[in-house]
């Protein structure tokens, strides 16, 4: 699709107009507090931070909320269960390429038959404006995964070229939003050359990388199941689950019921769960199929590097580095483990 250019001032006006006109239920974007970045609701364009390294939680929360009601029911003789999907129309601004790739994986998982309508409804009601990541966080290796930039997963994609953004239009919906709210011109050859240049420069800023092409990871994992690397790395694991809670491609959940105080109705909800927690694979008779830290650690590395890829044809890790930043004992980053396995194999 076509490429446009918009000045930073005009983009800010576009965001303000989106907020003021109220066509969408909310305008969400990257904000900052205490030097950390996070996705939250925007009340004016001044709050939006487009030059950031990584957000604490990924934008996955807009599609797969941390806790969501999936059915409601009445207590007693006639339970009358009803499906529930809460969704509002959103413009989501400032998503990095790796998070867009991660959303594509989430969508592949949840749209595989039988499809989960909740994620699909939210996806359809969200206009996504991406932004290229020019200053990656110190744990990011998304360039090695091939996700420093992306050609898909967005309605509009911004690249900061100084006093303006090049806007790559990904969908008709994006083109329409830009036409109605923004004052964009056609990008010139100079604009595009500058975009390529800043993208190229960003590649030199990744501190972490894979020591092999990403597509070799499954083969390396196949050969190293019994490698001591898993035991050695996981020895200090706290089984805290933080690496999973911050991950944009982690999609597992637990399901629980609650009953209202009045005892006449209740709801069933699902909430994020973590395969790094001790009881994730424990069955009622007491058998735990991944009882020790090593087997859970190995499982996570295989799921990220192999299982999801083989099942959905999309990598289970996009290299965002969040797990590496979150892990108190510095063992969670898949690239570190894959590199060690490569060395050992």
């Amino acid at each position: 699709m076509e490429d446009k250019v918009i000045s930073k001032a005009d983009f800010s006006s576009m965001v303000d107009r989106l907020i003021q006109e109220g066509e969408y239920d909310s305008i969400e974007g990257v904000k900052t507090k205490d030097g950390k970045y996070f996705f939250g609701s925007l009340t004016n364009s001044g709050e939006l931070c487009l030059d950031y390294d990584v957000t604490l939680l990924p934008p996955k929360k807009y599609f797969l909320p941390q806790r969501e009601t999936v059915i409601t029911f009445r207590q007693g003789e006639r339970p009358a269960p009803e499906p529930v999907a809460e969704a509002s129309s959103v413009v989501l601004i400032g998503v990095h390429p790796y998070d867009l790739k991660a959303m594509e994986l989430c969508e592949a998982v949840y749209s595989a038959p039988p499809a989960d309508p909740n994620l699909m409804i939210r996806k359809s009601k969200t206009v996504v404006i991406g932004v290229d990541c020019l200053n990656p966080n110190p744990q990011s290796f998304s360039a090695s995964m091939g996700f420093a930039t992306t050609e898909s997963g967005y309605d509009l994609m911004l690249t900061d070229i100084g006093d303006s953004y090049v806007v790559s239009v990904g969908t008709d919906r994006g083109a329409d939003l830009l036409a109605r709210y923004g004052r964009a011109a056609d990008a010139t050859a100079t604009n595009l050359a500058r975009r390529d240049e800043v993208r190229e420069m960003s590649l030199g800023r990744y501190e972490k990388s894979l020591s092999m092409p990403a597509d070799e990871i499954p083969a390396i994992l196949n050969e190293t199941w019994d490698s001591r690397v898993f035991a050695e790395k996981s020895e200090v694991c706290l089984s805290c689950g933080s690496c999973v809670m911050v991950c944009p491609t982690c999609v597992c959940f637990d399901v629980e019921d609650t009953v209202a105080l009045s005892l006449d109705s209740g709801e069933r909800y699902r909430k994020w769960d973590s395969c790094m927690l001790t009881d994730f694979a424990k069955v009622a008779t007491g058998e735990n199929f991944r009882e020790d830290r090593e087997s859970r650690f190995r499982h996570r590395m295989h799921r990220k590097g192999k299982y999801l890829l083989e099942r959905y044809d999309k990598p289970g890790c996009v290299g965002c580095g969040r797990c590496g930043l979150a892990c108190l004992v510095d063992i969670a980053l898949p690239a570190d483990t894959y590199n060690l396995l490569k060395e050992a194999s």
Binding site: D25, V70, I71, F73, R74, Q75, E77, R78, P79, P81, E82, P83, V84, A85, E86, A87, S88, V109, Y110, A112, P114, A115, D116, P117, N118, I121, W225, V251, C252, F253, D254, V255, E256, D257, T258, V259, G266, R268, R270, D273, C275, F280, A281, K282, V283, A284, T285, E287, F289, R290, S295, H299, H302, R303, K306, Y307, E310, R311
Partner: protein, 279 residues
């Protein structure tokens, strides 16, 4: 403004079913017969399972224990071990539960056609294979020999005693049984389930073995089957894993790259052998 949508086909939405009969099997196990509220057949294959919902308490994956040849209603047999399964025990006839499924692949019944079938069940492993046994008994021409081997720990833990008696008396069914330990009142075989294997004479190439029981049983029984010469892809096992969704989303049941809820719970030994987390 949050929209409260009613999605067309939530993966979490159960159908309603009425409990039409419940009977104790032992002190901790009970059989339940359900009828779907919309009058439909469950439409399962032997070896599949359902997610049983008690609203306000939760869901549990439970094998369908009745044969698909039983029309109008279906049965599950449940050991009370936790929240859902204990609450189920207190449920009165006429109560409504939720049912999702049937889920999973089930036993490869088509492949058993004109073969000999050796079914080995340990303890409550009998619950899922009972569906297969009664299916085959109702379609007796489907397989040649039907050999059933059942083992449990003590005589008091024997399950579906009436049906065990029927199978042992039926001329077209070969039935062997053992208990691990007992007092003098037990006159049958004593020993673990593999102790019966020397008594079984089979044409291994033409035999499918179906093995369901506690995890510890698998290694020993598979070994015996292999020793008898049953080909690896004719040894069929059903596995238990933690399950929350039943539809390949929640990740709990994952074993290597496989989702037991969708790709299983039934696997051949030749497939399981390739997996690191299987048995």
């Amino acid at each position: 403004m949050e929209m409260h949508l009613t999605p067309q086909a939530s993966i979490h939405l159960p159908r309603l079913a009425e409990l039409v009969r419940a009977e104790d099997i032992t002190r901790v196990e009970r059989v339940y017969e359900f009828k779907l509220a919309d009058g439909a057949e469950l439409g399962h294959r032997p070896g599949q399972f359902v997610e049983v919902s008690l609203f306000g308490i939760g869901e549990a994956p439970i094998s369908i224990s009745s044969s698909p040849t039983k029309r109008g209603t279906f049965e599950i047999a449940v050991r009370a071990v936790g929240n859902v399964t204990n609450a189920l025990q207190k449920l009165e006839v006429g109560s409504t539960v939720g049912i999702r499924g049937p889920f999973g692949n089930g036993f490869p019944v088509e492949e058993f056609k004109n073969k000999d079938l050796l079914i080995v069940a340990g303890g409550i492993g009998l619950f899922p294979v009972r569906s297969l046994i009664n299916f085959v008994r109702d379609n007796r021409a489907h397989v040649n020999r039907l050999i059933i081997v059942f083992g449990c720990r003590r005589p008091e833990e024997r399950l579906f005693c009436d049906e065990l008696a029927t199978w042992s008396q039926c001329e077209q069914t070969e039935f062997l049984e053992t208990v691990d330990t007992c007092d003098e009142s037990w006159t049958g075989n004593v020993g673990v389930v593999t102790s019966l294997f020397p008594k079984i004479d089979i044409d291994a190439e033409d035999t499918y073995a179906v093995v369901v029981g506690p995890p510890v049983m698998y290694r020993f029984v598979v070994n015996e089957c292999l020793k008898k010469g049953i080909p690896e892809d004719q040894i069929v096992l059903s596995l238990e894993r933690r399950m929350k969704c039943g539809v390949g989303k929640c990740g709990h049941c994952q074993m290597d790259g496989s989702y037991v809820c969708q790709d299983g719970p039934v696997y051949t030994y030749s497939v399981l052998k390739q997996m690191k987390e299987a048995i």
